[in-house]
Each structure stands twice: as C-alpha cells, then as structure tokens.
Symmetry: C2
C-alpha cells in the first residue's frame, strides 16, 4: 500500500536522502519517494504511520501526518 505524508524541514537532496534512509532503516523493504517541492514523502510497504513518524522525527525532520488522497 502506498501512502503519502507531509514532512517539513527537507530542503535539499541531502535531506531527502536522510529521510529515505531513516525510513528504510526502520522498514528495510519499504519504497520511499521524496517530493521536495511539495514537502511530501510517499512510502510503499509500511502499514503503520507511527513507524514513519518515528523515522522522520528521528532524522530531524517534522512529521506532519498523512496527506488526504
């Protein structure tokens, strides 16, 4: 299942890579796509939003919650 989250604080490719690595650190099989312009992260393969939140916050960015489809 693919789900998109709002994440504040990412401003460059280094930030994007950091968020991606943090999420994959918690869920190694996940697919992560970062949209810097829209401050969104799309994750496939993680069922629990709390895990995404934990990874994002742990990497130093602000997890704002899922984006309504």
């Amino acid at each position: 299942m693919e789900k998109t989250y709002k994440v504040e604080g990412m401003t460059c490719g280094g930030c994007a890579q950091s968020v991606e690595k943090a999420i994959k650190g918690i869920a190694p099989t996940a697919t992560v796509k970062v949209d810097l312009e829209n401050k969104q992260v799309t994750v496939t393969g993680v069922e629990d939003d709390a895990l995404v939140a934990q990874a994002v916050e742990g990497a130093g960015f602000d997890y704002e919650g899922p984006v309504s489809p």
Copy 2:
C-alpha cells in the same frame, strides 16, 4: 573533550539539523556544531567515535572519520 569529524553529504541547514539531532539522540548531553562549508561536525561530550559514526550514518550522511587537529 571537543572533537571534529569530516562528514560528507550535508548541503543545507536541514542536513545540519538532521546530523545534530541524530548525534544528540545517541548522546543527549553532547554539544554539536556543524560547519557546512568545510563539511565538518564538531562534537563535545562524546568519547567514542563509533557512536558519532553510527549517528551520522544512521541519519543518511557519510562519516569520514576524525579530522587531525
């Protein structure tokens, strides 16, 4: 004790914040200063380089080791 490390992959303030938060996550009492221009991170209050390496790599950046004084 203050120690400076070379860290690659940090390009903006978001990256700097991410590295700082990761190191403080592992060592809450540490002081962390990021020098983006010189790609260096100065840490006070962490004795074990391996902890800094773990935090930096966990945040998605490349730990290159201590900088010679």
